[in-house]
């Protein structure tokens, strides 16, 4: 075993890259669930973001336009879900699952001409001497802009839910849509906006896979990342900070276990492979237990709402 061959700098840097897609998707889904809607279509929205972002980046040559289109693609998919569940009052679980299947199929169709080609990717930002510092330069100042965007988004979502009036309304809609409705808030309106935001975040996460992390388009390339994002929201008990912790734990241990294997660590490989799932769940459950009843699901999560009831 030669653990010295693992560079902590490169490890942390790749950890952040591995965690970012899940972080973005989980953060969006958390807002959706806070508004009382359960959208199981994260995987479908992510893969649509991945393909839309890739196509836009290839066609325009601009990765920024790629990310923009990815967010738009994810949001359109989400609004399809929103229309079905909020306007037509279809079952949220079934519609969400259908959205995943639809997204996987549609993305495969759209991406047919884009297999095996290269898109313009986002480079790392260059902050001059800051990026040249040992360790800190690469870990803190040496990422692509989307990593910073995702971290900023965590802070924004946290502050929005905690301190703003709009955030309070959104939470009220999720806790008791009847009470919110009685107070004159547009339950459907709020939920549709939350759903669109969730879709845009999932789309960004997907595009991060196809434009930065892999980077290429391959059918079905999300390979379950959307489901992991969904699980992280629950185990993070609907808190932005814990979503961040969960996503970085999962991404971190995924990368760490591959590095340990490559370095020849004498730990059973089965254990290493299962570690990202086990450790993430364990840690988040422990945090939630300590936090007591604060970590309870929004009371009206997954319940349909119609103004007549």
């Amino acid at each position: 075993m030669d653990l010295s061959s693992i560079s902590p700098t490169l490890l942390i840097a790749s950890l952040m890259v591995a965690a970012t897609p899940i972080l973005l998707a989980a953060l969006g889904e958390m807002v959706v669930e806070k508004s009382g809607v359960l959208n199981l279509g994260v995987e479908g929205m992510m893969i649509m973001g991945a393909v839309c972002g890739f196509i836009a980046s290839v066609e325009s040559g601009s990765p920024w336009l790629g990310f923009l289109m990815a967010a738009a693609g994810g949001a359109v998919m989400a609004l399809l879900f929103g229309f079905l569940t909020q306007v037509l009052l279809s079952n949220q679980v079934a519609t969400g699952l259908a959205l995943t299947l639809f997204g996987l199929g549609l993305s495969a169709l759209l991406g047919q001409g884009y297999v095996g080609i290269k898109a313009n990717s986002l480079g790392r930002i260059d902050l001059g001497w800051l990026s040249d510092l040992p360790f800190v330069g690469r870990v803190v100042f040496g990422h692509d802009p989307i990593v910073y965007l995702s971290l900023a988004l965590v802070a924004v979502v946290w502050a929005f839910l905690k301190y703003t009036r709009a955030g309070l309304v959104l939470r009220a809609v999720g806790e008791s849509h009847n009470a919110a409705h009685a107070l004159g808030y547009g339950v459907r309106h709020v939920r549709l906006m939350a759903i669109a935001f969730g879709g845009a975040c999932a789309g960004l996460g997907g595009a991060y896979l196809s434009l930065v992390r892999v980077p290429q388009w391959t059918e079905g390339m999300t390979a379950g990342a959307g489901w992991i994002a969904l699980a992280i929201v629950v185990f993070a008990s609907w808190r932005a900070g814990r979503v961040l912790a969960g996503a970085y734990l999962f991404g971190g241990i995924t990368v760490l276990q591959l590095n340990l294997q490559t370095a020849g660590a004498s730990v059973p490989v089965e254990l290493l492979s299962a570690a990202p799932y086990l450790v993430t769940i364990l840690v988040l459950v422990l945090i939630s237990l300590r936090a007591g009843r604060a970590g309870v699901a929004p009371a009206d999560l997954g319940k349909p709402f119609h103004a007549s009831t």
Binding site: A108, Q216, G220, N259, T262, S273
Partner: protein, 368 residues
């Protein structure tokens, strides 16, 4: 899930009776472990399916289902296809072994062909495999020549005999041309997860591996290597299952990272077996073709490879194809130093099909 899958499902409802009239086309089903667009393993199986359609035209009808997980759901997918009136079903991944045999018991009139497995519990189950380790001997030779850090990496999927044959064959032949070479094995525990495959390749590159062999299905490791080369790296890869020729040049136009490939060509086998069903001559068998049969093909060796290495690789291709060389020819010791093959002794197929040990010189343990 594609439109075809939905159609297959709809047909399962409509055509519950598998008995077909004489003029009906033979219905050929395929169960794929990944999406057709993976650019690797499943893509090649689908090329085989298309070759069957082209060969037999109206006499056959093909259906397929993509991304079927290895596990309980596989049995449902295979059953559904059998209910849908398929006459022969190819299940194209090792993990479908038990599911295939379980469904075969319930549908004695349907023929089942399971890829890369060894269980044939019912007379209507045949198995087929390709001697990928023959191709690995060639890529291992090239890897031994190309590495400068003397560290080559192997991204493994699952610790099954097929993959272990590949690891051993690659290492033995790399070592033959470069005695100092060291091999690191990383298990991804998936056949298809581009993000994880890219991460695994990156972990290797970060730790000084400069030649990566992969036994997973997507092109993500190639993309990761291309990215490393764009940032000043010198990393080489091999196309796996499919040619992956799109990765034969770096972004700056220099040759690499992909310097050669092992291509699985299933077309001859699929055409032969579907033909046997049409003629009514299908029988259970265990097929294991390789380079001589044209099932394992080495893709173009690029100009990144020095002439000497290319000549050695071509010599090996010729020797394996004409049968004068077997990649597992003694003397070969097992990892613990005990003798596996005496000088000049050739491995028998039974041992290879159940291979569960590393050869001498590879570090680490095989997971159970």
């Amino acid at each position: 899930m594609t439109l075809k899958t939905l159609l297959a499902g709809a047909m399962a409802l409509g055509l519950a009776a598998p008995a077909l009239a004489q003029d009906d086309p033979v219905k050929v089903g395929f169960i794929y472990v990944g999406p057709i667009g993976d650019g690797g393993w499943t893509f090649q199986h689908d090329q085989g399916r298309l070759a069957v359609e082209e060969e037999f035209g109206d006499r056959v009808e093909t259906v397929f289902q993509e991304s079927v997980p290895e596990g309980a759901d596989a049995e449902r997918a295979i059953t559904q296809m059998a209910l849908g009136g398929a006459d022969i079903i190819f299940t194209t991944s090792f993990g479908y072994m038990d599911a295939t045999n379980a469904v075969a018991e319930k549908f004695p009139d349907v023929k089942f062909e399971h890829a890369t497995g060894f269980k044939r519990e019912h007379p209507n189950v045949a198995t087929y495999d390709a001697r990928f380790y023959e191709g690995r001997a060639v890529t291992g030779t090239l890897a031994g020549y190309m590495t400068e850090t003397n560290k080559i990496g192997y991204i493994g999927s699952f610790p099954i005999p097929e993959v272990i044959q590949g690891i051993n064959s690659s290492f033995l032949h790399a070592q033959k041309v470069n005695p100092d070479v060291e091999m690191v094995v990383t298990w991804a525990y998936t056949w298809f997860d581009p993000a994880k495959e890219a991460d695994a390749a990156r972990a290797m590159i970060d730790q000084g591996v400069d030649v990566i062999l992969q036994h997973t299905d997507s092109t993500a490791p190639q993309a990761a290597a291309q990215e490393a080369n764009a940032n000043g790296g010198r990393v080489f890869t091999f196309g796996q299952a499919s040619d992956m020729i799109a990765f034969a040049t770096n972004e700056d136009g220099t040759p690499g990272p992909r310097i050669a490939s092992i291509i699985d060509d299933w077309s001859p086998y699929y055409i032969e077996r579907v033909g046997a069903v049409i003629d009514g001559t299908w029988e259970q068998q265990a097929s294991w073709g390789g380079m001589p049969e044209g099932e394992v093909v080495i893709g173009e060796i690029t100009d990144a490879v020095p002439a000497e290495a290319k000549a050695a690789a071509e010599e090996m291709i010729a020797a394996i194809t004409d049968g004068s060389y077997h990649p597992f020819t003694g003397p070969i010791n097992k990892q613990d130093g005990s003798v596996w093959l005496e000088d000049g002794e050739v491995a028998d197929d039974g041992t290879l099909a159940g291979m569960d040990f590393y050869v001498e010189g590879i570090a680490g343990d095989i997971p159970n």
